[in-house]
């Protein structure tokens, strides 16, 4: 690692507490990691391990309640995302760091057309007119492999198939050409064949755009195809991390070995 250059994203000692019915629970404990430019970090863990909370913390997306306490540092370039103004945060959300949700059916607004939702994103961060935003949205839909994109612009989320919806969501996330994509189980809600296609799309984006990606999943098989390095979460703690090959070859933890052996059995 080049010591003179600070990493693109650096999370240091992130602690997150939730409070419900008067009881405080530590959801994340001492999470630290680094994401370099062009790198893809896989975060693996079972449900409840805190992987979604980790990526949502980066953009400060967790509502209070249940959130009751958050500490540590999340440095994007030189800005601490946990300690910056709302305006600054908003200018980073979507533009510099974009989020791809697991379930596009619930994450896309049901009463707004796909086109509206993509154009809204573009026009929030760039001062462009409607027409050029429309053109840009169409070419984005084309890039993520949606056929006859101009017609799809007018469609509402429920009119698209699951795979197309997720592609549209990815197009939206890409619309401001962000430096980092946070992808939270982006293939889990999809059929196996569609899953493979969407994963292929991520690989392409990685190569053509050089975007850094944090890819969250419970499925090691998916991560093996795309990640450069890996982080295994369990009960809110990192139990193992390192380059992909190294972890697959010689996992240090029993838990990781189990995950890998499950994969072999498939």
């Amino acid at each position: 690692m080049n010591l003179n250059r600070s990493p693109l994203l650096q999370v240091i000692d992130l602690n997150v507490d939730f409070k419900s019915e008067g009881k405080t629970t530590a959801i994340l404990k001492e999470i630290s990691f680094v994401l370099e430019k062009g790198e893809t970090l896989g975060i693996v863990g079972e449900s409840g391990s805190g992987k979604t909370i980790t990526v949502q913390s980066i953009l400060n997306l967790i509502p209070t309640p249940p959130l009751s306490g958050i500490s540590g540092k999340i440095l994007f370039k030189d800005t601490d995302l946990l300690n910056c103004s709302q305006t600054q945060l908003r200018s980073i959300r979507g533009k510099e760091i974009a989020y791809i949700f697991q379930e596009p059916m619930t994450a896309l607004n049901p009463v707004l057309s796909i086109g509206d939702q993509i154009m809204e994103m573009i026009r929030t961060h760039e001062s462009t007119g409607r027409k050029s935003a429309f053109q840009k949205a169409v070419s984005l839909l084309e890039e993520v492999g949606i056929p006859s994109p101009e017609q799809r612009m007018k469609n509402f989320p429920h009119e698209l198939s699951g795979g197309m919806r997720q592609r549209a969501m990815i197009a939206m996330a890409l619309s401001c050409n962000p430096e980092i994509l946070l992808a939270d189980e982006p293939t889990t809600a999809l059929d196996v064949t569609i899953q493979a296609q969407v994963l292929e799309l991520f690989k392409e984006l990685k190569q053509t755009r050089g975007t850094s990606i944090i890819f969250v999943t419970h499925d090691l098989g998916v991560i093996a195809e795309i990640a450069d390095k890996l982080m295994v979460l369990r009960q809110g703690m990192i139990i193992e991390e390192g380059p992909l090959d190294q972890i697959f070859k010689s996992p240090q933890q029993e838990y990781t070995r189990e995950l890998i052996s499950l994969l072999g059995g498939e």
């Binding site: 949502q56 953009l59 997306l61 709302q86 908003r90 200018s91 980073i92 959300r93 979507g94 533009k95 974009a98 989020y99 949700f101 379930e103 619930t106 994450a107 896309l108 607004n109 049901p110 009463v111 707004l112 809204e120 994103m121 929030t124 961060h125 509402f156 429920h158 009119e159 939206m172």
Partner: protein, 306 residues
């Protein structure tokens, strides 16, 4: 969507037919001879006979029914007993006052319900939410025939700010509108709150924030649009509450609308007029409900496009 509208229209026709039937038979529920009751004990036999034949009461029931239905279809609601004018004419004369009151009450209700409902949802269980919850409990429980007099006592008698009794300018409309609109405001603000609160927990709201949108846009564009969909139906049903509440409100403020006309008809045993008023009020309600239901379906693209 089209087939939905057609189905609703068919149901509307059926319901209106039922309403007309019920209103027709209303006069036959009268214990005793309706003509005696309408004209009083001292009426001349010749007058009675005349009224009986004008109203067709001397003919077989089925013929009367057929005549009534075909009359209603051609806009003939019968003749008012004492004034000898057509019922439709008298109703149309009073309709503007009622419409004015309804619009006033609706405006008050929406002006109160939206800000309070939205603010309460943004800080649930906060001070404003609790206060507006308590106020809405009061608003629903407070009968309008009490609220009206209280408003008169306070604003007209003690403070002498606003006029009472009789229709006129905007200042005459204020107290009746508050009287009629309060219950709806109370109900609606709770509905808006709970609907908005539910929507604010949705993933697409988190997504809107993740896109970097300003909070105002997240609430007004993304959340409110979705939250309003169920609220539209409630507004339609609440218009029924307004329509029947208007009868009482008009009585409190001597407001010359449809409700007062109905009550005059009842007090004077002017049954053709009573029938006409009830028919018109019920029809307005049914049609307004149909319109809100169709609006509801139209606003939600998931329904509109299916």
């Amino acid at each position: 969507m089209i087939s939905y509208i057609i189905r609703r229209l068919l149901l509307l026709v059926f319901v209106l037919f039922g309403v007309v039937t019920l209103v027709f038979f209303l006069i036959h529920f009268i214990p005793g001879d309706p003509v005696d009751i309408m004209l009083g004990d001292y009426a001349l036999p010749a007058d009675k006979q005349e009224l009986r034949s004008v109203m067709g009461l001397d003919r077989p029931l089925l013929i009367q029914y057929k005549d009534y239905v075909s009359g209603v279809l051609t806009g003939d609601l019968g003749t008012s007993i004492h004034s000898k004018r057509t019922v439709l004419e008298e109703i149309l004369e009073r309709l503007p006052a009622s419409a004015e009151l309804m619009v006033g009450a609706m405006t008050i209700a929406l002006l109160i319900a939206f800000p309070f409902g939205i603010l309460a949802a943004l800080k649930p269980y906060g001070l404003l939410d609790s206060a507006s919850m308590f106020a809405s409990f009061l608003g629903v429980a407070m009968p309008n025939f009490w609220l009206g007099p209280l408003l008169i006592i306070f604003f007209s008698i003690k403070l002498d700010w606003l006029p009472i009794n009789e229709r006129g300018g905007l200042e005459n409309l204020i107290l009746p509108s508050i009287t009629l609109g309060t219950a709806m405001a109370a109900m609606l603000s709770r509905m808006i709150r709970s609907s908005l609160l539910e929507v604010l927990g949705e993933e697409y709201i988190r997504n809107a924030r993740a896109k970097g949108l300003a909070e105002r846009k997240v609430i007004l564009k993304h959340a409110l649009r979705n939250a309003l969909i169920p609220v539209i139906t409630i507004i339609g049903l609440q218009i029924g509450v307004l329509l029947s509440g208007a009868i009482i409100t008009e009585a409190i403020f001597d407001w010359p609308g449809l409700g007062s006309l109905l009550l005059e008809g009842i007090y004077n045993r002017n049954y053709p007029l009573v029938q006409g008023c009830i028919l018109v009020i019920a029809t307005i309600y049914v049609v307004v409900n149909l319109i809100t239901d169709i609006t509801y379906a139209w606003v939600d693209p998931r329904v509109r496009l299916s």
